[in-house]
Subunit: 241 residues, 2 copies
């Protein structure tokens, strides 16, 4: 039988999977999906701030520099890690963006080392991401977590993704998938309420970023996705729809 | 405010904690509590099978050798890792036991490196363990997990322990504690049913060890506990009641 599992943080030993759904609900994976939805062409994930700056300098054409450290854009960046902020930018005027975030882009690059198809997933594209992943025999949701540890927000989104994947047919659930699914299905509140209890959610509220949080917690609103591929010595995300 | 967090597997970076509750529900922590309940005097955890054999050889007096690899006792061991099996042994005839298990004793030794008070907890002594832990400002439940990854069975027991700790007064919940608590409280089945869905639970059933599983899932039946302390160059568990 086909299977699905959930990895809660990059500290965990990664199982084998034919398809990875990388989740950093607050906010990198939501921002990446919004980036492509708004016409972005290509997104280059970078692990470190200096690496991102250097990459932008070396690239021909017009590139945006976006991302965060401690939820705020580093010095000299064009944009932070906010999906709502992207509405102010005409993406078609750029060849793409270089992005670095504390947890999300690192998780993407860690998944890339493990092999298999790698897609970006969030609550907004949950059903669309599940429909595309359903073709694969073994699917693993890879949560970016917070500071190397499991995060309630990402786990809740992983549960949503497992739920949507099971709509496409039965799968054997790993322990991680069962735990995430129970968290999502059995909770007696909305995804936004659940995420608001998380450490990351509380931090965003303190920073006045509640609108971002609510946007990130809307489910099944987008058909857009993002697929990671190797291009020369670089990893890049390209849109899928 | 006092706090509680849950660590899902030894792969996770460990937070600081004044008191650790180490959980390997199936079956090491349940077996350890049963060992003391039945009159056991002292238990020496060993990381490896050879180390356990060597330790027993070197110790003066009468010592039992107990534990498992792949859920079964290694060659030459007196006992496996079964709490029910202990009923057949007159513990008072021994100075104690040397124990090694795949996940549980290793988690105990990993917690010991981090510092703080270290206690063994399971479902059967959940309330008693919580009452003793309630005196500490920061409590962390440390799940042994399975093969370095989070396990549904241990996480469910961690949720039970968080629930019992909250009976003693309010605590700030880390994301791990919130996730475990939701899994335990919101599930629409018994602890035994939840644990039966886990990979470890299914494996025990396949091995004909369902009676052990049911025993491990009974809650709040024992006042006994076990406390880890350093004695010379060795770590040892002593009973608490």
């Amino acid at each position: 039988m086909a299977s699905v599992d959930v990895v809660f943080s990059p500290a965990e030993p990664l199982p084998r999977a034919d398809c990875w759904l990388v989740v950093d609900l607050l906010r990198a994976s939501t921002t990446i999906v919004a980036f492509f939805e708004r016409g972005g062409r290509c997104l280059l994930p970078a692990a470190a701030v200096d690496e991102a700056r250097d990459l932008k300098r070396r690239l021909p054409g017009r590139w945006l520099l976006m991302g965060e450290r401690n939820a705020l854009p580093p010095e000299g960046f064009d944009l932070g890690n906010s999906p709502l902020e992207l509405a102010s930018v005409d993406m078609t005027a750029f060849d793409g963006a270089v992005m670095t975030t504390t947890n999300g882009t690192r998780a993407l690059l860690a998944a890339a080392e493990r092999g298999g198809e790698i897609r970006v997933a969030c609550a907004r594209n949950a059903r669309a991401a599940a429909v595309r992943a359903a073709a694969f025999r073994s699917v693993a949701v890879f949560c970016a977590g917070l500071e190397g540890r499991p995060a309630l927000d990402d786990t809740a989104c992983a549960g949503l993704l497992v739920d949507r994947l099971l709509e496409r047919g039965p799968r054997e659930l790993g322990d991680g998938a069962q735990m995430a699914l129970s968290l999502f299905r059995d909770c007696r509140c909305s995804l936004a309420d659940l995420v608001s209890m998380s450490r990351h959610g509380r931090r965003l509220k303190t920073l006045g970023l509640e609108a971002d949080l609510l946007y990130c917690c809307e489910t099944d609103r987008s058909d857009w996705g993002a697929r990671l591929e190797r291009c020369g010595g670089l990893m890049r995300l390209l849109p899928e729809r």
